[in-house]
C-alpha cells in the first residue's frame, strides 16, 4: 500500500499527483478518463469533471484516515484492495494518509497500537474515521476485542476526535450478517452504536456519519465520496440513513438493465430455463432489486467488464445493502416492490380508440345531406306548381259550375 517499502524507494517527483503520472505509466488521457468516470459515479454534472480533475491533480494535503475493524469479514477492505490495479486507483489512495488499518498496517501488536495513538494525537479533530464491521452490544460487547478493547470502548476513545465518520459496508451501516436473526451478539451498525453511546464530537456537535452499505461495499462509492470531499470540500448529499444519494438514491430495480423484461412480464422461472438463458428478469427467483437502494447496476463489481454484478450474471440480488432485506429475507422470497411507479407508457384506464369523423367522411356525408336538401327543395318547387295548377283548375271548375 501507500506506506509500503516499495513506494518509499520512489524518488519524490513533486507533490502533485499529476507530476507522478509518468512514474506509474499512466497516460494523461487515461487520467482524464478516470476523472470523468468518477465524476459520473458521483452523480455530478460532467461539466464538473474539470473541478474533479483539478482536485485529483493538485491535492497535496492528504486527510488522515483511521480505519477501524470491528465485527467484519474484512471483505470491504479486500474489495477496496481489489479495486487497486497498480494504476490510478493506487494513486488515489495516495491521496489519503491511511494511518491505521489492521489489515494493511505493516506493523503489528503494540507497535500498531502505538501508530494509532500517535495518529490520534497528531490529528485530533481532523481525521476521517472509517469503520468496517458491526458493533456488538450484548454482554458489554465482549464478542469483539482488539487490543483488549471492545468496539464501544474504542469508539468512545476515538470517535469524538474525528472530523467525520464513514461506515463502510453493511455491517458498519446497520449490522450486516451478524445482525441476522437471532443476532446473538446484539450487533448494530456505527450510527446506531454512536447514538446508543451518545457519542458526539469532542466539542459537542454531531459527528457526521456517512454510511456506505453493501456486502461488500463498492470501493468506488468510497473513492467517490472521498473525491467529492476533496473536490467540493463538502460531504455529498445524504439520505435519512446517511447514504450518499449519488450511490443510494435509486432502487436497483429502477436502473437495472433487465427492467424492460420485468415491465414486459418476462421472468426466469428456474435457473437454467429458457428465460434464464435469455437474461430475463429474476424477480420470481427472489431478486430484491425492487426494494434495495444501491448503484450496483451502474458501477458493477470489479473491473472485469460489463454485466459483472449478480443480476448481470444471472443470480437474483439478495439486497445485501438494505437493512431488513439482506440477511433478513430468504434468498428466494419475493421482494416487495418498493416503488411501483408505473412507467409512462402504461396504458390508462380509459383508452382512446379510433373511429371518429375524418375530413373525407364528413365531406361525403355533408355532400349527401346537401344533395338530399336540394332534392327536397326541388320537389317542393314542383309540388308548388302542381298546387298552383290544381287551384287554378278548381277555380275554373267552380266558375264553370256557376
Amino acid at each position: 500500500m501507500n506506506r509500503s517499502a516499495a513506494s518509499r524507494r520512489e524518488p519524490a517527483l513533486g507533490p502533485y499527483l499529476s507530476d507522478q503520472l509518468d512514474v506509474y505509466g499512466i497516460s494523461r488521457r487515461r487520467f482524464i478518463e478516470f476523472a470523468l468516470g468518477i465524476t459520473a459515479t458521483l452523480g455530478l454534472p460532467l461539466g464538473m469533471s474539470g473541478q474533479v480533475l483539478a482536485a485529483l491533480e493538485e491535492t497535496k494535503a492528504r486527510p488522515t484516515v483511521i480505519w477501524l475493524h470491528f465485527q467484519e469479514c474484512t471483505g470491504c477492505t479486500e474489495s477496496l484492495l481489489r479495486a487497486t490495479h497498480p494504476t490510478v486507483e493506487t494513486l488515489l489512495l495516495d491521496l489519503i494518509s491511511l494511518d491505521y488499518s489492521e489489515t494493511l498496517l505493516a506493523a503489528a501488536g503494540h507497535q500498531a497500537e502505538q501508530a494509532l495513538h500517535d495518529s490520534l494525537d497528531k490529528n485530533k479533530g481532523a481525521f476521517i474515521l472509517v469503520v468496517e464491521g458491526s458493533v456488538p452490544l450484548r454482554d458489554g460487547g465482549i464478542y469483539c476485542k482488539i487490543a483488549d478493547k471492545t468496539p464501544q470502548q474504542m469508539l468512545l476513545e476515538i470517535a469524538p476526535y474525528a472530523a467525520a465518520a464513514v461506515a463502510i459496508g453493511s455491517c458498519a451501516s446497520w449490522g450486516g450478517v451478524q445482525s441476522a436473526a437471532p443476532n446473538p451478539t446484539g450487533a448494530v451498525g456505527l450510527p446506531e452504536a454512536l447514538r446508543i453511546a451518545g457519542i458526539t464530537k469532542s466539542d459537542g456537535s454531531a459527528l457526521p456519519v456517512i454510511t456506505l452499505p453493501g456486502c461488500p461495499a463498492s470501493p468506488y462509492n468510497l473513492l467517490a465520496t472521498v473525491l467529492y470531499y476533496l473536490t467540493l470540500k463538502n460531504l455529498p448529499e445524504l439520505d435519512a440513513k446517511g447514504r450518499p444519494r449519488f450511490a443510494y438514491g435509486h432502487l436497483i430495480h429502477d436502473h437495472c438493465e433487465r427492467r424492460p423484461h420485468f415491465d414486459a412480464g418476462r421472468f426466469a422461472e428456474q435457473f437454467g430455463d429458457a428465460g434464464h438463458r435469455q437474461g430475463w428478469c429474476l424477480y420470481k427467483l427472489g431478486c430484491k432489486g425492487p426494494e434495495t437502494y444501491a448503484n450496483c447496476p451502474a458501477i458493477e463489481f470489479g473491473d472485469v467488464g460489463a454485466n459483472t454484478w449478480p443480476v448481470g450474471i444471472g443470480h437474483p440480488c439478495f439486497g445485501c445493502a438494505e437493512q431488513g432485506v439482506g440477511f433478513h429475507k430468504a434468498l428466494h422470497e419475493q421482494a416487495d416492490v418498493e416503488s411501483v411507479t408505473p412507467p409512462s407508457l402504461f396504458p390508462e384506464i380509459i383508452t382512446r380508440h379510433a373511429g371518429g369523423a375524418t375530413a373525407g367522411a364528413a365531406a361525403v356525408a355533408g355532400a349527401i345531406v346537401g344533395g338530399a336538401v336540394v332534392y327536397a327543395l326541388g320537389a317542393n318547387e314542383k309540388l308548388k306548381q302542381v298546387e298552383a295548377e290544381s287551384t287554378a283548375v278548381a277555380k275554373s271548375e267552380a266558375e264553370e259550375q256557376k
Binding site: 414486459a264 412480464g265 428478469c281 419475493q334 408505473p342 407508457l345 402504461f346 396504458p347 383508452t351 290544381s390
Partner: protein
C-alpha cells in the same frame, strides 16, 4: 267493424299489454353458478404491474406482440414495449393503471395508483350467450367457462353489443375475422392445469380456483387490516405455493359477486371499481330481461300462430270477397275502369 278486425284488435291489445307490463311472474329466473364453477380471483393490491400474465397469455394462445401501438408513436419509441394499450383482437388480458394526482401511494384512491387486470368475466348469466343467434358462445355446464366456437359464428357482433364489459373483440382488420376473448385456457384446464395468466403471476394477484373457495378467500381478505403481514396463495388456491406480503387495504367489495348476475372472474382492489374502468352494471343480467320479454311475446310461438290464424282468415275473407266481386263484374265495359281511375286527382 267486422269480426275479424275485433279479433285482431283483441290480440294486438293483449300483445301490447303483455309488452307493457314489467317482467312479472313469467320472468326467466336468474342463472346460478354451475356445480364445478372455476374462475380467477384478481387482487389488485397484490399486482405489481409486471404484465407476466399478458405475456403468458399471448404465448399460450399464439398471439402476436404488438409493437407499433399509438402509445409508442406518441412517445417516439419503437418496439420497446410489447403490450397493447387495451384488450383487442390480439390481447385477451390487459393490465391497465389508474393514477390520481401525484400517484405516490399504491392502492390509494387520492394521489395514488392501482393496477387492474381486464379480461373476460365468464359471467354466470352471460349476455353474449343469450345474444348469439347461432350459439357460437356457450357456457360449460360444469365449469361455467364461456367458450367461443368460430365454426358456428357468423360474425354479426351482437355479442359485442351485448357484453356489458365490452370484452369480445373482433378482427376488423382481417378478411376472415373472428371474435377473440379469454377462454380460460381450456387445453390447460383439461390437462388438470391452470390458466396461463395465473401460472405466470409471481405475486398471486391472479389466482385460480373453484368459485365458492375463491369467494371465501376474497371475503377472508376483506377482514385484513392495512399494515398486517398476511400469507397469500400463489397460482392456485388449492396449491402449496404461498407468499407473504403486507396488506395495503381493500375497497370493501368483491367485484363480480353480484355484478350482472355474478361473474366467475372476481376482483378486489384498494380503489373503487368505477375508477378502475368497470362499467355501471346492476346486479341482474340484462340477458334475463331480454329473454323474459322475448319469451313473453313468443313462448312456444303460440301468440304468433294464433295471430297468423286470425290474419289469414281475415285476408281470405277479404280476397275471397274481392274475387267474387271480380267474377261478378267480369265483362263489364272499360267505363268501370274509368270510374275507378277517377279516384285520383
Amino acid at each position: 267493424m267486422n269480426i275479424d278486425r275485433r279479433a285482431f284488435f283483441k290480440i294486438a291489445a293483449a300483445g301490447a299489454a303483455t309488452a307493457l307490463c314489467p317482467a312479472s311472474a313469467a320472468a326467466r329466473p336468474p342463472k346460478e353458478l354451475p356445480p364445478e364453477a372455476v374462475g380467477i380471483l384478481y387482487d389488485a393490491t397484490l399486482c405489481i404491474g409486471c404484465k407476466a400474465c399478458e405475456v403468458a397469455c399471448k404465448a399460450e394462445n399464439d398471439m402476436p406482440m404488438a409493437h407499433d401501438t399509438p402509445l409508442e408513436r406518441a412517445h417516439g419509441v419503437a418496439g420497446t414495449w410489447d403490450a397493447d394499450n387495451d384488450l383487442n383482437s390480439r390481447t385477451m388480458t390487459k393490465i391497465k393503471v389508474y393514477t390520481s394526482g401525484t400517484a405516490a401511494v399504491k392502492d390509494r384512491e387520492e394521489d395514488g395508483f392501482s393496477f387492474i387486470k381486464r379480461s373476460c368475466m365468464h359471467c354466470v348469466d352471460p349476455n353474449c350467450i343469450s345474444a348469439c343467434p347461432v350459439s357460437a358462445l356457450t357456457k360449460d355446464p360444469f365449469t361455467g367457462v364461456v367458450r367461443y366456437n368460430p365454426d358456428a359464428c357468423i360474425g354479426c357482433r351482437y355479442c359485442q353489443l351485448a357484453c356489458p364489459f365490452n370484452i369480445p373483440k373482433f378482427e376488423y382488420d382481417k378478411a376472415f375475422p373472428k371474435i377473440v376473448k379469454c377462454q380460460l385456457c381450456p387445453d390447460r384446464l383439461a390437462a388438470g392445469g391452470i390458466p396461463a395468466c395465473c401460472d405466470a403471476c409471481p405475486t398471486g394477484a391472479s389466482l385460480f380456483g373453484r368459485l365458492p373457495d375463491l369467494l371465501t378467500e376474497a371475503h377472508r381478505r376483506l377482514t385484513f387490516k392495512p399494515g398486517e403481514r398476511q400469507q397469500y396463495p400463489v397460482r392456485r388456491l388449492d396449491g402449496d405455493e404461498q407468499r407473504a406480503a403486507e396488506v395495503t387495504g381493500y375497497y370493501p367489495k368483491v367485484y363480480g359477486e353480484t355484478e350482472s348476475g355474478g361473474t366467475q372472474y372476481l376482483m378486489m382492489a384498494g380503489v373503487p371499481f368505477d375508477k378502475l374502468g368497470l362499467p355501471p352494471v346492476g346486479d341482474t343480467s340484462r340477458a334475463q330481461l331480454s329473454e323474459t320479454i322475448q319469451h313473453t311475446l313468443y313462448q312456444g310461438m303460440m301468440a304468433p300462430t294464433l295471430l297468423l290464424g286470425g290474419l289469414v282468415f281475415a285476408v281470405y275473407r277479404r280476397t275471397h270477397a274481392e274475387q267474387e266481386q271480380e267474377d261478378a263484374s267480369e265483362g263489364v265495359e272499360p267505363a268501370t275502369e274509368a270510374r275507378e281511375g277517377r279516384r285520383d286527382a
